[in-house]
C-alpha cells in the first residue's frame, strides 16, 4: 500500500523538478539576452571616459573627464550637431503634421481607397534605406537640384511620415467618439469640436509620433548620406571620423543622446501610469 502511494508522488515530482530547471533556464537565457543588448551601450558610455593614446579610441587606457568637460572640443562636431537638430526639428514638425492628417483619415473615415492607402503607407518602411536614399538622389540628379540642407529635410520628412502615421494611428484607434458628439450636442461646431475636444485627446499620440520622427531624423545615416551634398549632420560627422579615428567626444554626444531618449521614454511611461491610476 505504501509503495503504491509513493510511486505516483515520485513520478509527479520529477516533471516538477524538470519544470523548475526549465523555468530558470529560460530566465537565465533572457537575462543573458538583455545583457547582450545593453553591452555595446555600456561600451559607448565607458569609452566616453577613456583617455586614448593616439587617434583610435579602441582600447582602455585610463579614466578622464576631459571629454565630458569639453564635448565640442573637436572641430566640426558642434556644427554637425546644430545641423542635425535643425533638420530634426523641421522634419519632425512637417512629418508629424502630414502623418497625423493621414492617420485621422484612416481611423475616422470609411472611404474608397482606404485599404490601398494602408498598404502604401507601409511601403517606405519596408524598402531598404539604401534604395530609398538612392532613388531620391536620382530625382535630385535628374532635376538638377544640388543636394544639401533642404534635400536632407525632404528625405527625412519622406521616411518619417509612415512612422508617424503608424504611431498616431495606434494611439487614436481607441478614441471615444461620443465625446465629440457630446460637444456638438452642446452647440460646438465641427471646428471648435476639433480644436477643443479632438486635438487635446489625441495629443499624446501626436507627441509620441513627433518624438519618434525626431529621434529617427537625428539618427539617420544611410538616406542622409545619399542626399547631403556638402552638409554634415552628426551621423555623417561620425562616418567621416570613423576612417581617421573617432574622438571620444563622439561617445560623449552618443551617451548624452541616449540619456535624453531614456529620460523622455521613462517620463512617457510614468505619465501614462499616472493617467491610468487617476
Amino acid at each position: 500500500m505504501t509503495s503504491y502511494a509513493a510511486t505516483p508522488a515520485r513520478v509527479r515530482s520529477l516533471p516538477r523538478a524538470w519544470a523548475f530547471v526549465r523555468r530558470h533556464l529560460l530566465t537565465v537565457y533572457a537575462a543573458l539576452a538583455l545583457l547582450y543588448l545593453m553591452l555595446p551601450i555600456g561600451v559607448v558610455v565607458l569609452f566616453s571616459f577613456n583617455d586614448p593614446v593616439g587617434r583610435f579610441n579602441y582600447t582602455w587606457e585610463g579614466f578622464t573627464l576631459d571629454h565630458w568637460l569639453n564635448p565640442f572640443g573637436v572641430p566640426g562636431i558642434q556644427e554637425s550637431i546644430t545641423t542635425s537638430l535643425e533638420i530634426a526639428a523641421l522634419a519632425s514638425l512637417t512629418a508629424t503634421t502630414l502623418g497625423t492628417l493621414i492617420a485621422l483619415a484612416l481611423v475616422r473615415y470609411a472611404f474608397r481607397g482606404r485599404g490601398a492607402t494602408n498598404i502604401f503607407i507601409f511601403l517606405p518602411m519596408t524598402t531598404p534605406e539604401v534604395v530609398l536614399g538612392a532613388s531620391l538622389l536620382t530625382l535630385f540628379l535628374n532635376l538638377g537640384v544640388s543636394t544639401g540642407f533642404w534635400t536632407i529635410f525632404i528625405a527625412h520628412v519622406m521616411f518619417n511620415i509612415s512612422f508617424v502615421v503608424v504611431t498616431v494611428r495606434a494611439r487614436i484607434v481607441g478614441f471615444d467618439r461620443h465625446l465629440e458628439e457630446a460637444a456638438m450636442d452642446l452647440g460646438a461646431n465641427e471646428w471648435t469640436t476639433f480644436w477643443r475636444v479632438t486635438l487635446p485627446l489625441i495629443a499624446p499620440g501626436i507627441v509620441a509620433g513627433a518624438l519618434i520622427a525626431f529621434a529617427l531624423s537625428v539618427d539617420d545615416f544611410v538616406i542622409t548620406n545619399f542626399n547631403a551634398g556638402a552638409t554634415v549632420t552628426f551621423p555623417l560627422y561620425v562616418w567621416g571620423a570613423a576612417r581617421i579615428g573617432v574622438p571620444p567626444q563622439v561617445n560623449v554626444i552618443g551617451t548624452a543622446i541616449f540619456a535624453v531618449a531614456v529620460i523622455l521614454m521613462l517620463a512617457n511611461v510614468l505619465l501614462q501610469r499616472r493617467k491610468e491610476h487617476a
Partner: protein, 287 residues
C-alpha cells in the same frame, strides 16, 4: 467650411492629400527616376544619356553576384540568430515579465537610442584585437594567436544581428503577449506535454510575429552597408556597399540604379517564397 459641409465624403481625401502628395513626389516619382537612371549610360564628365541600357542589369549581376549573394546570406544568418535570441526573450517578457514588463521592453529598444553608427563602432571596441572577447576566445583555443574577429565575416554578421535585433523582438513580443494563456492551460489539461502545448498552441499562435519580425529584420539587413564598412573589409563587401560607392564615389549611376532594382527583386522573391512556405501552410493549420 460650407464646402466641407456639402461634400462630407471629401473630408478623408482632403486629410490625405498633403501627406500622400508628399510621398508621391518624393517616394513614388523617385522610383521612376531610379528606373530611368538604371537604363542610362555615361559618365560624370561626358554626361548621361538614356539608351535603354539593359546591359546595366546583366553587367551588374555578372560583376556583383558575389556581393549580392553575400548580402542575402549574411542577412539570412543574422535573421536566424536574431530569432533564436529574441524568441525566448520575448516569451519570457510576455509570460514571466510580471510588473517589470515595461522596463524589459525599454531595454529591448534601448539600442535604438544610441546613434546607429556609434553602436556599430562600439562593436569595434568589443571585438578589437586586444579586446576581452578575442582574449577569452584565444585563451580557450577557439581562435589561434594571430587570428582576429574584427575585419571578418563573423564581425559583420554580429554587427548586423545586434543592430536589427529589436525589429525581431518587438513583433514577437506583440504576438506572444496577445496569446490567451488559458489556451495553453487548456492544452495541458487535455494531457498535452509542455513541449506539445508549445509546439501545437503557442508557436502557431505566435507565427504572425515570427513572420513580421523576420521580414523587418531581413529586409534592412540585406540592404545594409554600414556594418560591412565599419566591421569588415572589402572582402566582406555587401551589395549596399557597391550601390553606395557607385552612387557617391564612382558616379556610375546607371549600374548603381540597376543594382538597387536587382536588390529589391531578390528581396521580394525571397520574401514571397518565405511567406508562402511559412504563411500559407502553417497559418492555415493553426486555424
Amino acid at each position: 467650411m460650407a464646402f466641407v459641409h456639402r461634400h462630407k465624403g471629401l473630408v478623408p481625401y482632403l486629410l490625405l492629400l498633403p501627406g500622400l502628395g508628399f510621398l508621391a513626389l518624393f517616394f513614388v516619382v523617385p522610383a521612376y527616376y531610379l528606373a530611368h537612371t538604371s537604363l542610362q549610360t555615361g559618365s560624370l564628365d561626358a554626361g548621361y544619356a538614356f539608351t535603354w541600357a539593359w546591359e546595366n542589369y546583366t553587367d551588374a549581376i555578372s560583376t556583383y553576384h558575389e556581393q549580392l549573394t553575400r548580402s542575402l546570406v549574411y542577412a539570412g544568418i543574422a535573421t536566424a540568430i536574431a530569432l533564436a535570441v529574441s524568441y525566448p526573450l520575448a516569451y519570457w517578457i510576455a509570460f514571466r515579465g510580471g510588473r517589470w514588463k515595461t522596463l524589459f521592453l525599454l531595454i529591448v529598444i534601448a539600442p535604438f537610442f544610441v546613434t546607429y553608427l556609434i553602436r556599430t563602432l562600439a562593436w569595434q571596441n568589443i571585438l578589437s584585437d586586444n579586446g576581452p572577447v578575442v582574449e577569452v576566445l584565444r585563451a580557450i583555443g577557439v581562435l589561434d594567436d594571430g587570428e582576429r574577429l574584427l575585419a571578418t565575416s563573423t564581425a559583420v554578421v554580429a554587427g548586423i544581428t545586434y543592430n536589427f535585433l529589436p525589429f525581431m523582438a518587438l513583433p514577437l513580443y506583440a504576438s506572444l503577449e496577445q496569446i490567451d494563456e488559458r489556451l495553453i492551460e487548456a492544452a495541458e489539461d487535455l494531457y498535452a506535454s509542455r513541449l506539445q502545448a508549445f509546439l501545437r498552441v503557442t508557436l502557431p499562435l505566435s507565427l504572425p510575429g515570427v513572420v513580421a519580425g523576420t521580414l523587418l529584420t531581413f529586409i534592412p539587413a540585406a540592404g545594409d552597408f554600414v556594418n560591412a564598412e565599419l566591421l569588415g573589409t572589402p572582402r566582406e563587401a555587401m551589395i549596399g556597399n557597391v550601390i553606395q560607392s557607385k552612387f557617391l564615389v564612382i558616379t556610375d549611376y546607371g549600374q548603381a540604379a540597376a543594382l538597387s532594382f536587382v536588390l529589391m527583386a531578390a528581396i521580394l522573391a525571397l520574401v514571397l517564397a518565405y511567406t508562402r512556405a511559412l504563411g500559407a501552410d502553417r497559418l492555415a493549420e493553426a486555424r
